[in-house]
Symmetry: C2
Subunit: 134 residues, 2 copies
């Protein structure tokens, strides 16, 4: 994370974004919350890709410090925390959608999942609104 | 790159994309080619963010092996190579555009550059077509 947290000073919007979410895991954590409705550390840890505990802890802290997630105590379990996307986090929805569309066109592996792509093709605006409401 | 080249088998389109371009540098190399018309190793090396030679060599190889860039000898200088985006590479344009829009809304640093964002706001379809033609 050390390299990742170092912000580049070029002023370029692409560099700004990559400094925040340009790594193998950050947008997958966002996916778990936005597309799969996960809310707690334990739920996100169950992601299919097998995220390591230290990486998940690091990314949740990072996303909170960047103002993309907000953390509050779970009212039903005071020892647990709930993570919610902020406006800045929900605004990542179109980036995830474009990644899904790109992969849909170029992932030719037999196990490639196209279910979400179908939803986007049918009603992109509605799909994006659902993500933002998640 | 070792970790980055390892493809995750979940079938998720977001994981597929991040396995290819989910790092601090890959999409910046694409930016240099797509938005700034760079074509050679030496030109891309001049990027504002100061990409290290070993990282650039690694990323160019990676993008070529993923079918995102194609490399050919420069007809005007047979010792040099020219890199061009393939269809798969040009299809990354909407992802770059969404990153620019997101950063435009959330990068509040005084040196944040908004010139490209203005072009996207004025005519997104035209801007995307220009990127694809680059």
């Amino acid at each position: 994370m050390q390299e990742k947290n170092r912000k580049r000073a070029s002023g370029c919007p692409i560099a700004f974004g990559l400094d925040i979410f340009g790594d193998r895991w950050t947008l997958l954590v966002i996916r778990e919350i936005m597309l799969r409705g996960k809310r707690t550390y334990s739920e996100i840890l169950e992601a299919d890709e097998g995220i390591a505990t230290n990486i998940l802890i690091d990314r949740l802290k990072h996303l909170e410090s960047e103002g993309i997630l907000e953390k509050r105590r779970d009212p039903e379990n005071r020892r647990s925390f709930i993570y919610n996307l902020t406006k800045k986090g929900r605004d990542l929805a179109p980036i995830l959608i474009e990644i899904i569309i790109w992969s849909g066109a170029h992932d030719h592996r037999p196990n490639a999942r196209h279910d979400v792509l179908e939803k986007i093709r049918k009603d992109r605006a509605g799909f994006e609104a659902d993500l933002r409401d998640s």
